[in-house]
């Protein structure tokens, strides 16, 4: 007896800390990479131009060179 049909594609489990991967049509991992961090920082001097870093803010400590 022949069992005809297409086997269901079973994808490999994700590796720890894996963020993305590229799979071929058979479900094999072609390449993979880590997770991605997008992180916003506010730097006072960048907001207010070259004088920004020289303006003292109450309660804030200015970094020493």
């Amino acid at each position: 007896m022949h069992l005809l049909g297409v086997a269901k594609l079973v994808l490999p489990p994700w590796e720890p800390d894996q963020g993305w991967r590229v799979l071929d049509p058979d479900g094999h991992v072609v390449s993979a990479g880590p997770k991605t961090i997008i992180y916003a920082t506010i730097v006072f001097g960048q907001l207010y131009g070259t004088d920004g870093d020289s303006v003292p803010l109450i309660g804030m400590k200015q970094e020493q060179p």
Partner: protein, 146 residues
């Protein structure tokens, strides 16, 4: 390596909403609400910047504007970061894309009219040959910094 990653227009809107730039030193105009529908994750073949999107992936297997996230991410509390997509992976299969390179991601509203976050994929450029699938793991992207 973390990147600086907020669209310049959105960045200014955030700043103005929280700084005394309004009349007599009032807070400035508050943020306009984004479309109240699931946000979209978009991928580009060239690098996005704070002023412009990279070239969006195009062709069979990719819908212009990106793919909606599968569910709600955990809200930020006490300054914690937010991760996405929650709680499932997102996949795109190259069925004849104009470019086989994936470089940046963008997070925008459902109408794809307001771009908020952007950044290069860690490990980009990523080659996704015709017939292959680019898959992003659940909670693979972390956004934060304020």
């Amino acid at each position: 390596m973390p990147q600086v990653v907020i669209d310049a227009s959105r960045s200014s809107a955030m700043l103005n909403a929280n700084l005394p730039v309004g009349t007599s030193g009032n807070p400035g105009t508050q943020l306009a609400a984004l479309t109240a529908s699931p946000m979209k994750l978009k991928i580009t073949s060239t690098a996005s910047s704070n002023t412009a999107s990279g070239t969006e992936v195009s062709g069979t297997g990719y819908t212009a504007g990106g793919t909606v996230v599968p569910g709600a991410s955990t809200s930020s509390t006490a300054g914690s970061n937010v991760t996405l997509p929650n709680t499932a992976a997102i996949s795109w299969t190259n069925g004849g894309w104009a470019s086989s390179t994936v470089q940046s991601l963008e997070l925008q509203d459902n109408n794809a009219t307001t771009r908020v976050w952007y950044g290069n994929w860690n490990g980009a450029p990523i080659t996704v040959s015709n017939g292959n699938t680019f898959q992003v793991a659940a909670n693979a992207v972390t956004a934060g910094g304020f």
